[in-house]
């Protein structure tokens, strides 16, 4: 197992390095911008005295690498902030303070995270089922009318932005037909049934777009597998068509689907931002849009780092799963 163990170790080190580089790039891009960083961070309504205090807390007199080191220290070990009268402790993954909303960024994000996770993971189940199902069906029904209809629908799905689908669903389902009330987020722990009903439309909107990409990929990798020699051998031995499609061809699509699911995680998060804004779900995405609009720099940086962290992690997990599904990867 040295081969696989070594592969895991290499991936883990690579992931850590990528995370480190990501934090450096994000920090430099946002905190080394021309312009008065202290003023921007503090917000437009700050008095000169407050701006001065913020500048001291951000250590703007120090060179950039010292400031970054300080930031990293807060991230890994926590930090104390003096708020003039008292000292506030910001525990381990400390992303700094939002001076505009007077809160610790980490707490702000943690409070919003359950909403976003509910949205993304619920939608993920839906898009995997829908996408892979459609892909299998259209590979199976090759050349028939049902395949064409599915292909056309899939194409339409890839071409429709998530906010257009969401907007139309919202108007048709909630506005005109009144099948569902306008979504309002309910905590999973408070009322699981209401939680699911209220997230149904957001899930569908987000999933339809992503499912289209999976349907295309599943279809093409299944067709590719179906053209291979071993499938011809199976058929020659008299293995039933259902088993050829369902067991053997689907296995060929397995690894690419895992890879796409991870690579699309970033775009799904982007889609989640749009979905949250559209449906008024109080998640990380909506908070990010708000922070961008009022230029709340610490929140923006914190959000980008947290989301980037999840995306890099998703990619690493996918690499490992891919290797488990297809051992040839380990050798290369």
């Amino acid at each position: 197992m040295t081969g696989f163990g070594g592969f895991l170790a290499r991936r883990a080190i690579g992931t850590l390095l990528t995370l480190f580089a990501l934090s450096v790039i994000v920090y430099v891009v946002f905190y080394a911008t021309p312009g008065d960083v202290a003023q921007i961070t503090c917000g437009p309504r700050c008095s000169p005295a407050q701006v001065h205090q913020v500048a001291a807390q951000l250590r703007l007199d120090d060179p950039l690498y010292v400031r970054y080191g300080h930031f990293l220290q807060g991230l890994l070990a926590g930090q104390d902030y003096s708020t003039g009268t008292s000292v506030e402790h910001c525990p381990a993954p400390c992303l700094g303070l939002s001076y505009q909303s007077d809160q610790q960024v980490t707490r702000l994000i943690l409070a919003k995270l359950p909403v976003s996770l509910s949205l993304v993971f619920g939608a993920m189940v839906l898009w995997l089922v829908l996408g892979v199902g459609t892909g299998v069906l259209s590979a199976w029904r090759r050349g028939r009318l049902s395949e064409r209809v599915l292909t056309a629908l899939t194409l339409a799905g890839t071409a429709t932005p998530v906010f257009v689908i969401g907007l139309i669903l919202l108007i048709v389902v909630c506005g005109e037909l009144r099948l569902l009330p306008f979504p309002q987020y309910v905590n999973l722990t408070d009322d699981p049934e209401q939680w699911a009903w209220n997230l149904l439309l957001p899930w569908v909107s987000l999933a339809l777009i992503e499912a289209a990409a999976f349907a295309r990929l599943t279809r093409s990798s299944m067709l590719e597998t179906l053209a291979e020699d071993h499938i011809r051998t199976f058929r020659a031995y008299g293995v039933g068509e259902r088993s050829v499609i369902g067991r053997h061809a689907l296995r060929g699509a397995f690894a690419p689907v895992i890879a796409l699911n991870a690579n699309n995680f970033g775009s799904a998060v982007g889609g989640a931002v749009l979905t949250e804004t559209l449906f008024g779900l109080p998640g990380v995405g909506q908070e990010l849009v708000h922070a961008v609009n009022v230029v709340d720099l610490p929140v923006v940086v914190g959000m980008v780092l947290v989301i980037g962290f999840f995306v890099v992690l998703a990619n690493a997990v996918a690499d490992v799963l891919y290797a488990v599904a297809d051992r040839r990867v380990v050798l290369s």
């Binding site: 932005p161 093409s220 749009l274 961008v292 609009n293 923006v300 940086v301 980037g308």
Partner: protein, 339 residues
């Protein structure tokens, strides 16, 4: 099948002539795909509308930014006074609720923003991707390792999130469409760089490139004279898929209110305000939504067609059975794909 000979239809008879140039062959293969051809026509029309927006709105007698308070029924919350949301000879597609701005003018000028930003961003992506990809492919081990790591980070970066964040810190005085173009272009060049690097590594081993290297040519000259022709096909394939993606991202950013800002019209931005008005003026919602849908769909289909035309073997592998016949027909340039 021989790649050196392709049949071309001249004056109704099939005559074998020597292989056409790459561009001509590409065009022939694209032409045989009816869906891609239809998409190309739609894209051409959209580009035409975008380019001719000032002319078209001048014919209509409107402009995208003038308010028409007289046409708005403020007693009913700002809905257009005329029937069908104010459609008439003066306003071809009606007017915007609340402001009374002309919808056709805003839609046509929105096409300029949408297509202009998407195409320009693609150019930026290609420029960065090609330069960094070639540098990684031709450079020594350390250069390659460093550039590949940087590329990996940019590939992993979520485009929407980074664009959103970057748009926050740039001063509002900076021209917004240019800014959106740069942000999209500078974040998502990673995949092109990967494609170019991989291709460069292959090309580097070929005799004509090796000969150029041994002759002591500089990296720049090798890249320009020997590599770029071989890179055109993969880069074009990938770029054709990036354009619709860029259209969507621009619309999404403008929809969120951080992309192109008023008074400059943009389809995404038109949708932001439209959902409240869907009963009084449905076209206010449906027009930008439809425009986006048609544009992205046409660009996607065209992108697929470009890929098939540039790499017919990869595409026909997926069409087991009828594939071989279609490929033959595509290569002979006849227009018989009517299965």
């Amino acid at each position: 099948m021989s790649e050196a000979l392709v049949a071309s239809r001249t004056a109704g008879t099939d005559v074998f002539v020597p292989a056409a140039s790459g561009g001509l062959q590409f065009w022939r293969r694209l032409r045989t795909q009816r869906a891609a051809l239809g998409a190309a026509v739609v894209v051409a029309l959209l580009v035409l509308v975008a380019l001719a927006a000032p002319l078209l709105t001048a014919i209509e007698g409107q402009d995208p930014t003038s308010y028409h308070p007289a046409l708005i029924d403020s007693a009913r919350g700002g809905v257009p006074t005329g029937p069908l949301g104010g459609i008439g000879p003066d306003h071809w597609l009606g007017i915007e609720p609340q402001t009374g701005r002309d919808l056709f003018a805003r839609l046509a000028y929105g096409a300029r923003v949408s297509l202009g930003v998407a195409l320009a961003a693609t150019v930026v992506q290609i420029a960065f991707g090609v330069v960094l990809g070639i540098a990684a492919g031709l450079g020594n081990r350390w250069v390659d390792e460093l550039l590949s790591r940087i590329t990996d980070i940019f590939v992993a970066m979520p485009l929407m999130i980074m664009s959103l964040a970057l748009l926050a810190i740039v001063p509002p005085a900076f021209p917004r469409p240019v800014l959106v173009t740069l942000v999209i272009g500078l974040i998502s060049w990673g995949n092109i760089a990967k494609v170019v690097r991989a291709r460069t590594l292959t090309l580097k081993e070929l005799d004509h490139v090796a000969a150029a290297r041994l002759s002591g040519w500089g990296a720049w000259r090798i890249a320009r004279r020997e590599l770029v022709p071989g890179l055109a096909a993969p880069v074009l394939t990938y770029a054709a898929l990036l354009v619709p993606q860029n259209v969507t991202v621009e619309a999404a950013l403008s929809f969120l209110g951080v992309g192109v800002k008023p008074p400059t019209p943009s389809w995404g931005q038109m949708l932001t305000a439209a959902d409240v008005w869907y009963q009084a003026a449905p076209q206010y919602l449906l027009l930008p939504a439809g425009a986006l849908f048609v544009t992205v769909l046409a660009l996607t289909v065209l992108g697929d067609g470009v890929r098939t035309a540039l790499d017919p073997r990869a595409a026909s592998r997926l069409r087991v059975g009828t594939g071989r016949r279609r490929e033959t027909k595509a290569d002979t340039g006849s227009r018989g794909d009517s299965v």
